[in-house]
Structures are given as structure tokens and as C-alpha cells.
């Protein structure tokens, strides 16, 4: 019974998958459009949409337009798996950009891996993502690469730094990985870590942590958290009299932090995987289009999602030159696309990108910025050389 059902199902799946590639070429996008992760997901959706608009306005893939198929992956594992299943079996996408969180990637990427559909993670930064399988790659640089730059920059601004306090949001996967990288970077720079304090992304009162930092008498604070909690922590550190430098992690790399810590944000050094100041033509075009529509600088999440869609399309273009996309079998194209993604070199808003053979991103440029507040509500990230 069990085996018979399995055989029938497999036969049916096999018969279904001899399908041709649809036009316009469907590319799946599974990001957090709802839930508490939507704050990040919405920025990514904007980035992906801009990429689609830009690509189709410039002739698509050799004349064939692309079509992004959006499925809400929310903030939980179940929704991410459901979104992936929908994209793979119902929408017959050639590849998927998503999901938003690393934990979701650990749940949903194996689904794509088994179905042999290439996945590009736009914001999955945890260790072990590209190692999920052959079909999984990411355009988001792992934190271990991004974080040390900011600490190095702090040393440049104040070479006398001896002691640091490290704070991180213990319920946020990103911050936990990032703090390890930060602590290692600090030690490599000869800075001793005087105290390590934990908090939760949902906390609003940080008196305990701030008191511990002040008692440790440090001249550098390294902070890994998200916009709301990180911003409040910066504010309370300054209010209670901390004078030294503050280094913020990648989670603070968003203008959403300005209304939270207001004038106290000033001077915070931020590690960035993306900077609007990146001089390449691809980025300046993206920044221009983003500014025209949203009247502000594009955030990192939008740029990474844009890059994800762009990488997939660039790889498809190469395949299209070999044989028109509409003539490929879907399965065949998915496999070829996966190989092509890893083989290519891309000029994206993030700068020049390549992938290693596991699917890990090799990003050329990283950035460090310092926040400068104009008034209580508006500020800018000033790119530090």
C-alpha cells in the first residue's frame, strides 16, 4: 500500500516535471511579507520589485521578460516551507530568492535542494547556509567577514582603545553569530573583552546591561541587535553617561534606527555589507531608481534582494544565449541555472560578486559607516574610508 502509493506519486511527479519553461520566465520570491520579520521582508520585496522593473525595462532576458512570483514566507519555518512548495510545484519557477531568516533557510532550503531548484538567500547570514546543499547559495555575506571591518575602523578612529564591552541579542540568530565574529575581531586587534552582556530583541529597559558596561570602565562598546532594541540600548548608554565609541552590528544598518535613538545615534560606527556610496555604475543606477521612488537611500536588505534577482537573471541570460529559455525543459534549466550561478561574475549594487563552489558569496567590497544626525529624526550613514 505504502510502496504502491509512493510509486504512483513518483510516476506522476516525473510526468509533471517534463514541462517546458514558461514565458515570462517565473522567478520565485519567498520573503517575509507579514509577521514581525516583515520589517526586513518589506524592504527586500521593494528591492526585488525594482530589479524586476529594471530588468524588464531593459529587454528582460534576450527579449523574454521575467516575472517575479511572490509567496509570503512570513517569519516562521512552516510558512517558508509552504511558500517554497507553492513556488516549486504550482508556479514552476526556475529558481527562488529567499527566505528572509537563516532559521527559515535551514527549514525550507532542503525542500528546494531535494526538488533540485536553485535558491539564492538574500539575507541568510548564519554559518552553514551554503552547505545545506548543492542548490543553495547566498548573496548575503556571512557576518564573520563583515564584522571585523567595523572594529578595525574603530581602532583607526581611536588607537588608544584597550577594553571593550560586548552586548548582543541572545534570541536573534543573526546577532548571536555576529557577536562571535565581533569578539574574535576585538581579540585579534588586541582589545580585551571586559564584559559580555545579553539582552532580548523584545527588551526596552537596558539598565542592567548599561550599568555593567559603565562599571567595566570600557572605551569601546560593540553591540549586536536589531533596530528597535539596538537603538534603545545606544540611547540608554549615552543617557547614563557612556562617552566612548560604539560599534553597531549589521542589524543596526537601517535608517529605522534614527527615530529610536534620535540624537544619541550620532557617532555610532556600523558594519555594512552594502553602502549606497558604493561607486559602481550598477549601484548608482539602483540608488537613483530607489531614491526617485522612495525619497531616501536604499537600505541593505533592498540592495541584497535586488542583487539576488539580478544574479539569477544574469545567469539565465548566459543560458539563453546557448539555447532559448522557452525551449529548455524546466528540470534541465534548473540544474543548468544552478551551475551557471556559481560560475558567473556579477556587477551588482553590492559591488562585484562571485561564488565559491559551495555557493558562498565572495564579495569584493565591505563598508563601514558612521551615523551623523542632522536633527532628532533624520540622519545619514557617512561612508568611512
Amino acid at each position: 500500500m505504502n510502496r504502491a502509493a509512493l510509486t504512483i506519486a513518483l510516476a506522476l511527479i516525473a510526468s509533471v516535471s517534463a514541462e517546458k519553461v514558461q514565458t515570462p520566465v517565473p522567478i520565485g520570491v519567498a520573503l517575509a511579507q507579514t509577521s514581525n520579520t516583515a520589517l526586513l521582508g518589506q524592504e527586500q520585496v521593494i528591492g526585488a520589485r525594482l530589479a524586476e522593473k529594471h530588468i524588464n525595462a531593459h529587454g528582460g532576458i534576450g527579449g523574454t521578460p521575467i516575472k517575479l512570483v511572490f509567496q509570503d514566507a512570513a517569519g516562521d519555518e512552516n510558512s517558508a516551507i509552504n511558500a517554497f512548495q507553492n513556488l516549486i510545484t504550482k508556479s514552476n519557477v526556475v529558481g527562488i530568492v529567499g527566505p528572509t531568516l537563516s532559521q527559515q533557510a535551514f527549514a525550507a532550503d532542503p525542500i528546494a535542494e531535494r526538488a533540485r531548484v536553485p535558491v539564492l538567500g538574500p539575507s541568510n547570514t548564519a554559518k552553514g547556509i551554503p552547505q545545506i546543499g548543492d542548490y543553495v547559495a547566498r548573496v548575503s555575506a556571512p557576518i564573520a567577514v563583515v564584522a571585523p571591518n567595523a572594529v578595525r575602523q574603530a581602532m583607526k578612529l581611536d588607537p588608544k582603545i584597550k577594553k571593550a564591552a560586548v552586548l548582543y541579542a541572545q534570541n536573534d540568530a543573526f546577532s548571536v553569530s555576529e557577536t562571535e565574529a565581533f569578539q574574535k575581531a576585538a581579540k585579534d586587534q588586541g582589545i580585551s573583552v571586559a564584559t559580555v552582556q545579553k539582552f532580548q530583541t523584545t527588551d526596552t529597559d537596558f539598565t542592567t546591561q548599561v550599568t555593567a558596561v559603565l562599571n567595566a570602565d570600557v572605551d569601546l562598546v560593540i553591540l549586536s541587535g536589531l533596530a528597535a532594541d539596538g537603538g534603545n540600548l545606544v540611547k540608554q548608554l549615552r543617557q547614563l553617561g557612556y562617552k566612548g565609541l560604539i560599534v553597531g552590528g549589521n542589524g543596526l544598518n537601517t535608517s529605522n534606527i534614527f527615530p529610536v535613538c534620535q540624537k544619541y545615534c550620532d557617532g555610532v560606527i556600523i558594519a555594512q555589507a552594502y553602502s549606497p556610496a558604493q561607486p559602481s555604475a550598477a549601484n548608482q543606477l539602483f540608488v537613483k531608481e530607489y531614491r526617485a521612488q522612495y525619497k531616501k537611500d536604499p537600505p541593505q536588505f533592498a540592495a541584497q534582494a535586488y542583487a539576488g534577482v539580478q544574479v539569477m537573471t544574469d545567469a539565465l541570460r548566459v543560458l539563453d544565449r546557448k539555447k532559448k529559455l522557452a525551449q529548455w525543459d524546466l528540470d534541465e534549466l534548473r540544474a543548468a541555472l544552478n551551475k551557471q550561478i556559481l560560475a558567473g561574475k556579477y556587477n551588482t549594487p553590492l559591488g562585484e560578486l562571485r561564488f565559491d563552489k559551495e555557493g558562498e558569496i565572495l564579495q569584493k567590497d565591505f563598508y563601514v559607516a558612521q551615523i551623523r544626525m542632522k536633527d532628532a529624526k533624520t540622519g545619514t550613514f557617512v561612508f568611512l574610508k
Binding site: 506519486a9 509533471v16 509552504n82 507553492n86 510545484t89 535551514f106 540568530a173
Partner: protein, 313 residues
């Protein structure tokens, strides 16, 4: 068919899984205990399975047992959750009603913070790369695990209701003091109901870890308790089919309405509000009410005419 299973297979299994989690809350509720601890035990069960299936310390066991490792994880999860349920249940069940609910929420929070801080549970990232049970390739195949578990649980629940223990549960639910006076030891049966729920939630967790490919602290949160409580309340808390129907429905609605994009959450909210307003007995309760004749009512009070002695005024 293959297409259908590919697309909805995962959803169908999650519907069954939600029903099982609803049932794990239903057992304590049968004895009148409003416990929200199910997601805690679910998370523990998942962690036990995930650790046994991925931790290098158990590599020898995995090699020796092969697929036998999976039943072992279920057994281990059930055992650990049972013992944990006993340890938590004995003190917590001295509380009643809303206070018990609060204590169980505290229990979930404690578990969550512990799992975030231990290295064996992988901290905030959790455990990933969990091997697939019996080499299952597609998500729908997990119905071969969750389906039988659901049937067994329903059979167990039916037998339990008819047994002496089930009657004791109901007696305590209706009036704890009276039950105690009749010689039913309330603590004993309340802890028993709690432990049954804990073991079931742990089992579901252990089966879910390979099903989800990964396990992390987000699995057992306060949000999950409220969701599971909603399964039971919307489905109906006085019938074994209630949690099953409620869990399946509330899991399916947002997924089947995917084509509505953001509106699907609005519809989901409407279902919750309408069901709780107009079906206070839950969906199954309301359906049962249709079929069954209305309960006998007290006869309308007829004014008793008392003949005055002497024949009137």
C-alpha cells in the same frame, strides 16, 4: 495527484500535527486544567530528537540502529517529557484557572531562555541538517508518522473517556471539591492528565524535528500556546474531534487563502472572531448541538393555585 501532494502535502501533515498539538492541550482541559504548556513539551521533544539525530556524541548509536534511531527518539522524547511533566505538574497544578495558565507560560519562557543559552541546542540558530526519518523525500510522506499517531491518540482518548480515569477527569472538571469528597484524589488525576498531554506534545515534537529539517527556540513560544489554545477553543473543547478539527482548520485557512496575499490574515482573524462569538461551544460543539435534541428544560413554572381553606374570599 503528485502535483497536489507536492503542493499541499506539507500543509496536510501540518494540519494533522496541529490537531495532535490541540489534543495535547485537550487532555489537561478534560480534567479542567487550563494549561498552556504544550509548546514547551513540543519544543523539548523536538530538541531531544534533533540532538539524538545530529549530535556527534550519538553517532555510534545512529550507525548501530539505522532507521531504528527514529523510534528511539520518539521514545526518548516521550520519556523525558513525561518526567518533565511530572516535575512541573506536581507543583504547578496546585494552582487553578488563570494562575495555572500563567505558571505554564512561565514554564515555556524558562525553556525558551534555557534553549537559547545552551550550546547543545544551538543557541538562537538552533539545530539544522536533521536527517530525514526513514529516508522520506517528500513532506507528505510524514503522514505515515503523524497519521497513525493521530488515530492512536483518538482511540486512546475515546477509551480514556469511557474509563474510570476519564470519569474522574470529568468529575474534577465539573467540581473539584465534590470529586475530592467522593474519594477521587484530584492531584493524582490532574497530574496524570497533564503528563498525558506532555507526552503527546513531546512525541509530536520528536516527529516534527525531521519534518521541519531544523529545530530552534522559536518552536516553543507563547505565540504557539495561544495558537494551540485557539485550535481547541475554536474546534470545541468538550469533544475529542474539537481540537483535531480546530487545528486542521486554523492551519489550513491562511495557507489555502494564499492567493489573497495580505488579506488572508484578515480572513483568518475574522474566522477567529466569528467562531468565538457565534460558536462558544466550538465548531464541533455546535455541530453536535444540531444533531442532538435540545436538553430537557425545566418545565415552565406554572403558578400554583392554592385553594384557600374555606372555599375562597
Amino acid at each position: 495527484m503528485g502535483d497536489f501532494l507536492g503542493q499541499y502535502g506539507f500543509l496536510i501533515v501540518t494540519m494533522v500535527q496541529a490537531g495532535l498539538l490541540g489534543l495535547s492541550l485537550y487532555f489537561p482541559l478534560q480534567a479542567g486544567q487550563l494549561s498552556l504548556a504544550s509548546p514547551g513539551f513540543y519544543a523539548v521533544g523536538g530538541y531531544v530528537a534533533a540532538i539524538l539525530l545530529t549530535n556527534p556524541a550519538f553517532a555510534g548509536w545512529r550507525d548501530a540502529l539505522g532507521n531504528g534511531m527514529f523510534p528511539l527518539t520518539w521514545l526518548a522524547a516521550a520519556l523525558i517529557c513525561g518526567v518533565l511533566g511530572l516535575i512541573v505538574g506536581v507543583p504547578a497544578l496546585r494552582l487553578r484557572g488563570i494562575y495555572l495558565a500563567l505558571a505554564t507560560i512561565a514554564f515555556i519562557e524558562i525553556l525558551r531562555v534555557i534553549s537559547l543559552n545552551l550550546s547543545i541546542t544551538g543557541g538562537a540558530i538552533g539545530i539544522f541538517g536533521i536527517p530525514q526519518a526513514f529516508g522520506f523525500q517528500d513532506r507528505w510522506q510524514y503522514i505515515w508518522l503523524f497519521g497513525p499517531l493521530l488515530i492512536l491518540t483518538l482511540l486512546f482518548a475515546r477509551q480514556l473517556e469511557r474509563s474510570r480515569v476519564g470519569r474522574a477527569f470529568r468529575a474534577i472538571r465539573e467540581d473539584e471539591l465534590a470529586a475530592d469528597a467522593m474519594g477521587v484524589p484530584p492531584t493524582h488525576y490532574k497530574v496524570l492528565a497533564f503528563v498525558i498531554g506532555a507526552v503527546l506534545a513531546g512525541l509530536v515534537g520528536a516527529m516534527s524535528a525531521p519534518f521541519l529539517n531544523t529545530w530552534n527556540a522559536k518552536q516553543g513560544t507563547f505565540d504557539a500556546s495561544i495558537a494551540i489554545l485557539a485550535f481547541v477553543l475554536i474546534g470545541g473543547s468538550r469533544n475529542i474531534w474539537g481540537p483535531v478539527v480546530g487545528g486542521a482548520l486554523l492551519t489550513a485557512v491562511p495557507e489555502l487563502l494564499r492567493f489573497l496575499a495580505d488579506w488572508r490574515l484578515v480572513i483568518n482573524g475574522l474566522v477567529l472572531v466569528v467562531a468565538s462569538l457565534y460558536l462558544p461551544q466550538g465548531i464541533v460543539g455546535a455541530l453536535g448541538g444540531v444533531r442532538r435534541p435540545p436538553p430537557p428544560r425545566r418545565p415552565p413554572s406554572v403558578p400554583v393555585v392554592v385553594e384557600a381553606p374555606g372555599g375562597g374570599s
